[in-house]
């Protein structure tokens, strides 16, 4: 006995509309990573040129959307567009006169708007903060991963003194915590699951860590790149294992507070 739908299927219902042939795969992801790294590298030559690179990359994401053929590519493109937009904001926003920690706090506002808009293309912001299959104890364990990571980062990428400007320590800690939130939501919250859906677990983990590390190219330091890649890899792995962003956000907050505030106070007096 078979059931037949009372609604007649439109002709060629399973065929994609003409021109929708773009599927985001590994070659395109590597191309995007190269373009992002080149734009970051241009920061060493000229900030307006780098801004142009970020702008073109963001616009390319918008141009590509109508040609995407599958749901996973459509989910990934807003995130791939959001990253160069955030970098363009970092370069172009008039914050050069701020000390580094207040500067991060000011930049966090437009970054959070980008991340919220990118999140809302697929699901609600609240869904990002769900615990997943893991419990609070697991999330707490993820937060503790930040301590050894912070030691590695502090050794590889020493912090310039005077970063908090005139801010008291507590206020600087709060600003740092708020500053890393959108950044972490973008790279581990949105980018990693979207890339994993397209490229698989292992490639997704490495590619998202490499994209995160690419945003440190302008520091022109192998230590900074290695530290960023290690952070991206460790937090990305935790994100994959727990299927939640709660623990990794907590870990990033602990990491930056240790690296920017606690360790300089302990080791430099």
């Amino acid at each position: 006995m078979t059931f037949r739908s009372v609604v007649p299927a439109p002709p060629n219902a399973l065929v994609q509309p003409a021109g929708r042939t773009l599927v985001v795969g590994l070659p395109l992801l590597f191309g995007y990573l190269t373009a992002l790294a080149l734009s970051e590298g241009l920061l060493l030559v000229s900030a307006p040129l780098a801004a142009g690179g970020f702008g073109l990359l963001a616009l390319a994401g918008c141009v590509a959307l109508p040609f995407t053929a599958d749901e996973r590519s459509q989910a990934l493109l807003p995130v791939m567009t959001a990253i160069p937009v955030v970098r363009l904001i970092v370069v172009a926003a008039p914050t050069a006169d701020f000390a580094s920690i207040p500067r991060l706090g000011v930049l966090a506002v437009p970054t959070l708007i980008v991340v919220t808009l990118a999140t809302r293309t697929r699901h609600s912001v609240g869904q990002l903060f769900r615990l997943g299959p893991s419990d609070w104890a697991t999330q707490l364990a993820v937060v503790l991963v930040a301590v050894p990571l912070a030691v590695i980062v502090y050794l590889l990428m020493p912090v310039t003194p005077g970063g908090r400007g005139n801010l008291p320590v507590i206020a600087a800690g709060i600003v740092l915590a708020l500053a890393v939130l959108p950044d972490e939501l973008l790279f581990r919250g949105l980018l990693q699951p979207a890339i994993t859906a397209v490229a698989g677990q292992r490639a997704g983990l490495y590619l998202s860590a490499m994209m995160y590390a690419a945003t440190f190219i302008a520091y022109a330091s192998v230590g900074a790149l290695a530290a960023a890649f290690a952070v991206g890899l460790a937090l990305g792995w935790c994100r994959q294992r727990t299927d939640s962003v709660v623990g990794v956000v907590g870990a990033r907050v602990v990491l930056v507070v240790l690296v920017y505030l606690a360790f300089p106070a302990i080791f430099n007096g």
């Binding site: 616009l59 918008c62 904001i89 370069v91 008039p94 930056v256």
Partner: protein
């Protein structure tokens, strides 16, 4: 550690050509204009434009507009 820009680039943004006509702010303005134009064209082309395309353009336009307003306010405060 948060991806920002290193001290040499910050120095350029403070004292370099950033204050002249070839600034990163102008690039931002160009991208903003392109995004807003694309959004206007998309919305005028059909009564029910593709929501995902409009949302993607919003990712560009909304934060860049806020930063553009901040740049304008900063320039005026520099003049006064």
């Amino acid at each position: 550690m948060t991806p920002s820009v290193p001290p040499p680039v910050l120095d350029f943004l403070r004292y370099g050509d950033a204050k002249a006509s070839m600034s990163a702010g102008l690039v931002l303005l160009a991208v903003l204009v392109v995004a807003l134009t694309a959004k206007a064209l998309l919305q005028s082309a059909s009564p029910a434009p593709r929501q995902d395309a409009v949302r993607l353009l919003n990712i560009l336009a909304v934060p860049l507009f806020i930063v553009f307003v901040a740049i304008v306010v900063e320039r005026f405060s520099d003049l006064s």
